[in-house]
Each structure stands twice: as structure tokens, then as C-alpha cells.
């Protein structure tokens, strides 16, 4: 049974308060067996408490599935990219390295990649994913497009991204300010910032010490 077509998953990263409720709720999903398939990332820990929930964007051309040598990652007809299938996954970490959004995570104890599957056993029958059902600030929103448009008139949803030469369209949408024009993301830009400066300073200090 496919996910109802009128229901979409929206991420509004600016609304995230870092409470970790989504990470804990993910473990409660029936098919996740107590393992959280999502994580919370800090944008720039030394400069800001801002966090971003990292859930799978469910790309139209999933890079993780493209690079998987064991044919372990599959996509359902309604566009949900499933987590790795246990009999197939060989824990090679290709998907962890390849995903432009940094979503797949390797569970080394289980030798298995686990990533967000949009709580497919719930969303396929019209229920919200566990993370969206517990998010107190609704940074994770699962519902109809007109519903979120009415609730947040100053934001709009985007689902197209540019990573260098790679163009990606996703099933999950990100809410951005209405007047925001996305640029191509320079993945090396993250190396120039307060955290990067601290890292470089430490390296220089160690160098001077030697």
C-alpha cells in the first residue's frame, strides 16, 4: 500500500530546538527494533546551538542505492527509499560516504546500514512517521501541502538541490523563507568557519610543538 499522494514530509530546520524527541521516537517505530534511524546534527557547535534533524530525503535518484554494490537499498513505487536489506548489506560504507545529505549511518555492531525509511509501515497507511508525530516545534511536519502553506505563509517548500555537478530532487521537502533563492551548495564551504578555524589553529599549535 503506497503512501497517500497528498501527504508530504516537510523539514523546517530553523524550527528545530534540539530536544532529541525525534531521535527517541524513531526507536519506538515497530519495524525499527529499538534502533534510531535518524540523528540530530549541530550546524556549528562552537557558535550556535542550532540543530538540524537529519532524516532521509528520499531522492528521486537515490545516490546510496546507486553506489550500493550488494543491491541492498531499494525504492518503493511511491518513492520511499528503504533501509538496507539485512541479507544483502555487506557493511561496505559506500552509501555513508556517497550520500550528499549525510543520511545513512553504519551500525558496526550489526554490520548493517540503517537509515530513515519514513516509518514506511506507518506512512503507507496514512499515519505520520514517529518523528513527525512527536516533534514539539513541528520542525518535522507530515501532512498536506495546503495545510502547511496555510500555517506558514512566509515559507515555501523546495525539493531541488544542487551539490556541485549533481542535481537532486527529493520526496521530502525543506521549508525555506519565501524569498529564498537556493544556490548550488559548495560542500567544501563547511571547511571555512569558526569550527574549521579552531581545527586549523589546533593543528598549527601541534605543529609548532613538534
Amino acid at each position: 500500500m503506497p503512501v497517500p499522494g497528498h501527504l508530504n514530509f516537510y523539514i523546517d530546520p530553523g524550527r528545530c530546538i534540539g530536544c532529541n524527541a525525534c531521535v527517541l521516537a524513531c526507536t519506538e517505530c515497530d519495524s525499527h527494533k529499538g534502533q534510531s534511524m535518524i540523528q540530530l546534527d549541530y550546524i556549528d557547535r562552537s557558535a550556535s546551538p542550532q540543530t538540524v534533524p537529519v532524516i532521509c530525503m528520499h531522492c528521486d535518484q537515490p545516490t546510496c542505492a546507486e553506489v550500493c554494490p550488494a543491491d541492498a537499498i531499494k525504492r518503493t513505487p511511491d518513492g520511499v527509499v528503504q533501509t538496507a536489506r539485512k541479507p544483502h548489506c555487506v557493511a561496505c560504507n559506500n552509501c555513508v560516504l556517497a550520500c550528499p545529505f549525510g543520511v545513512p549511518k553504519m551500525h558496526t555492531a550489526a554490520n548493517l546500514m540503517m537509515k530513515c525509511d519514513m516509518c514506511y509501515d506507518r506512512s503507507s497507511v496514512g499515519l505520520k512517521p514517529m518523528c513527525a508525530s512527536v516533534c514539539p516545534s513541528q520542525a518535522l511536519f507530515f501532512g498536506a501541502a495546503d495545510e502547511i502553506a496555510a500555517a506558514r505563509p512566509h515559507s515555501r517548500a523546495i525539493d531541488a538541490f544542487q551539490f556541485g555537478r549533481q542535481s537532486i530532487t527529493t520526496k521530502v521537502k525543506i521549508m525555506v523563507p519565501a524569498d529564498f533563492e537556493p544556490d548550488a551548495l559548495d560542500v567544501t564551504a563547511a571547511l571555512a568557519g569558526p569550527s574549521a578555524d579552531l581545527i586549523m589553529d589546533n593543528l598549527c599549535d601541534e605543529g609548532e610543538g613538534q
Binding site: P62, A65, K74, P77
Partner: protein, 181 residues
Amino acid sequence: MSDPVSDQITRPPDGRAPEEQPRWRQDFPIDQHVEQYVTRREFTKFMVLTSVAFVVGQFWIAAQSLLRRKESAPGLEIARLADLPVGGSLIFDYPEPGQACILVRTGEREAVAFSQLCTHLSCPVIAQADQGRFHCPCHNGNFDLATGQPLSGPPRRPLPRVRLEIRGEHVYAVAMEGMAV
């Protein structure tokens, strides 16, 4: 759906048509429903090959049965008939060592043999030919000498019978009744 390749919803990154994709991409599609799709040709091939395998298997079993039937079992020589008086009994192992059986000569050229283990609690039975029975002294159970059926006492199941052949002056055990050779 008529053609699973064209029904793929995940487009390859290079944007070329599905027919132009390499073979490995067709054999290992990312779309779940394409992978699970079984064409009519594949289904028919599977059914035909499976049926052929079953038929061949049946013929093989029949051939093995014919071969097995031709080989008559030599049997185990138990005793010379003359060495045993009429009404006398003899203990022997059949079909495996340690499985005690009892042979009783009932006539000039007649004999019966049964497993010696009482079907109640596996005590050894003794032959009492003058009374026409096998007697189990443990719990006073009795079996008929000719058929092995229980006559009295706790046993409910008959003693397993050993099929005998008398060839010349010798008695051979050829089979345990109720068991495959």
C-alpha cells in the same frame, strides 16, 4: 504493467533511456516493484523446469524401486532345523546385533520367530510351546505362539514378527515384518 524496464520510476543519473542502460542496471533495478516483477515468460519457464524436475525424479524413484525389487535379500542364517527339537526355542539377533529375537520350532518343517522384547516394558519373553504362548515373567504377560498377539496381562501390542524361509535344512530370517528391508 507490460514492460518492467520502462516502468522504472527511478531514472539513472546519466539520463539515458532505460533500453540504453548497461545489463547490470537492468538486472539489479533500484525500484522494488521492478525487481519483484515476474514476466509471463519467466513464470512459464520456472513452471516447466520444475515440472520436468519432478517427472525426472519420479522416474528415478521408479527405477530405483525396480532395481531394489530384483535384488532378493539373502537373509540371515539362524540355525539348522535338525539341531532344534520340536517345541524348542533359540535366541538370535536380527536385524541388527543387540536386537534379540526368539525362534521356536513348531513342527517338522515349521517355525516361527518374533522379537524377544515384550511390547509392554521390553522384558525378554520366554517360549512355552507346550502352552502355546510366549510368557513374559516380569508382569505375567502372554502372547500367542503362532501370531504374537497378546493373550493376557499388560501388553497391548503384538510382538513384531520375523519372516522366515526354510531352505533345505537351514532356517533363514529374511525380513522384519512391518519394516522396510
